[in-house]
Symmetry: C2
Subunit: 354 residues, 2 copies
Amino acid sequence: MGKIPAHRSAVTLRDVAEQVGITASAASMALSDSSRISEKTKTLVRAAAAELGYVPSSAARALRNQRAGAVALIVPNTTRHVFGHSYFMHVLTGVSSVANDRDTQVLVSTNSDEANGLAAYERVMRSKSADGAIVTSAAVTDPYVERLSQSGLPVVLIGNFPYLPDSITVGIDDVAAEAAITRHLIQVHGTKRLMHVSGPLDHQTAIDRRDGFLAAVAEAGLLESSLVIEGDFSEDAGWQAVRSLGQGIRDIDGIVFANDDMAFGGLEALTDQGLTVPGDVAIVGFDDFGLSRLTTPSITTVSVPAEDLARVATERLFDIIDGVSDGPAHQHLPVSLTLRSSCGCVPKGAQPHR
Amino acid sequence: MGKIPAHRSAVTLRDVAEQVGITASAASMALSDSSRISEKTKTLVRAAAAELGYVPSSAARALRNQRAGAVALIVPNTTRHVFGHSYFMHVLTGVSSVANDRDTQVLVSTNSDEANGLAAYERVMRSKSADGAIVTSAAVTDPYVERLSQSGLPVVLIGNFPYLPDSITVGIDDVAAEAAITRHLIQVHGTKRLMHVSGPLDHQTAIDRRDGFLAAVAEAGLLESSLVIEGDFSEDAGWQAVRSLGQGIRDIDGIVFANDDMAFGGLEALTDQGLTVPGDVAIVGFDDFGLSRLTTPSITTVSVPAEDLARVATERLFDIIDGVSDGPAHQHLPVSLTLRSSCGCVPKGAQPHR
DNA sequence: TCGTGGTGCTTTATCGTTAAAGCACATCCG
DNA sequence: CGGATGTGCTTTAACGATAAAGCACCACGA
């Protein structure tokens, strides 16, 4: 193996320069292809750098250039409980791929130590460990996020934050999406007595999805026969919501869950009570981060392009870091309905395998 | 839209020192509680630092101290396909929590862009962006991982790497675990004609699990009536494996899949063919990263403590970084069997909700 | 012949932090 | 009362990279 020799101590630019017989400055200029360095020297320097396995010290570069060469992916601690794991993975994948193209490191910062009054991610930014941050799914009223987005540091939020109109955000139109899938239930499957199990209503996402449901129900004249129960995006909340109606659940013929986890919990509760899905009750979820495809019946849902959201947000972030400030402050990416078995669209077990 | 924030430039230690009327060095000593600084000055410095919102520059510190204050979580691109998203999330959670306790940043390096012949994660280490790395590799022979672990840089591998005896690893005993769950199928459920769908056999995990299966089958004298099919840990491979037997599948009464994804794929294929699980065939998976609990029937599996593995690995990494070099080179954490419906232990639909 | 303009490097200074050495001044002990 | 020890700061230097300025040297035109 050992094509590249094992190095006891790190190779610095000086080592490279010395081997060529010039100063570190000249070597630096050579590697950055300066016009003030002869082609011959450039070739020599490049060869020496390759031979010695020179990799610039990120700390020295960061200090000198006042640029960390890293972006932070910030996850306020509440998020872990509120959103599933897979959502975050999709986001990380998106951020990573864009960052990679820019030779930038990705730093993941969750918030657990608020010991010194500063959120962990505020420290990350203030210490200049990262040049900018992607903030994912914060609560409506997270004061740290608010301060961060108003600090003047490059920050892009994933989601919708009407309370922070000056921030840069990339999200989806939750209202329209939830309205669309509700309409699907009403128009295609003829459901008339609908229930919505919402997320925690201190999250904008939860509010918007509820409003979308209500809009679709209202426009169909079904507002009277509908109800909303507040959940918290957890599987258990979906289960509880269905249980809480007791026998009253038999009057419902369609349930719109604000996410897939709750839909799965609801599905279990319905099955426990001897109700069939979609026979007795048609249900739909939201997110499509993995779970909804696996259940029996599989759950019809709104596919949220999490990875794309992250990708677009990160590209936006780099623009801001580079001083390019055009582009809309608030962007919405399109979503699609993924029709499966739980609403009655696809016969149980008939989904093509691949 | 371009308003200039109050904190235009960052607060440096010099700003703090100037406000107190001393030099930056003295301020530095004050903040590190040096005995050569008077209590009065220390108090003043601390107050000024708090007032100005001073946060040390990570780059300057890293350069001066020759320590980045960050660890890297390295995920070779093959790993992501082999293990799912959830595995990775558990690992990230574990690494983060330990790193957070040590005021250390977590840097995630996934793609290996081999543009300049150096894997992305080798650049991370060589550029001193991180003081050490946790590597979640799967393949038996990743030359970059090999080189990294032999470079002398602090590295801890999650998994088992018998071909790298000098490396520090934290894993589980795949052989024993797969043998145990196979024995469960044989002894508790009386299966006699067993199939194993393995992972790709250039992965140590796949090899070990297969060997565990074979050991258990051999000790029960069932080697003759058993077979092994090589898969690749994907859902589709599980599906294909079952299909590939044609009607021959009806001679099988127990299938040990090397992970849950393949078990789910196999479950679908079995159901498609009109076979019931666990009635006609008892099946088990491996991992328990989320999926196996969601399916119908839920899948009996080996629970891999991914978060704990990551936590232990990270603690080990910090020890190495700090120069503490005791502790075993190769550690195994215990696993547990999670009995669900697919083997026949728990009646379908009878699992307690919480 | 002198100046003007490249060319190709070296010198210098800086980013922010911190260990080590330096230096006044005070205090203690024999 | 003079050397030793302490106290509390300042000065210096270094971590590694890199812009900017400096400086030889050569070539060319007037």
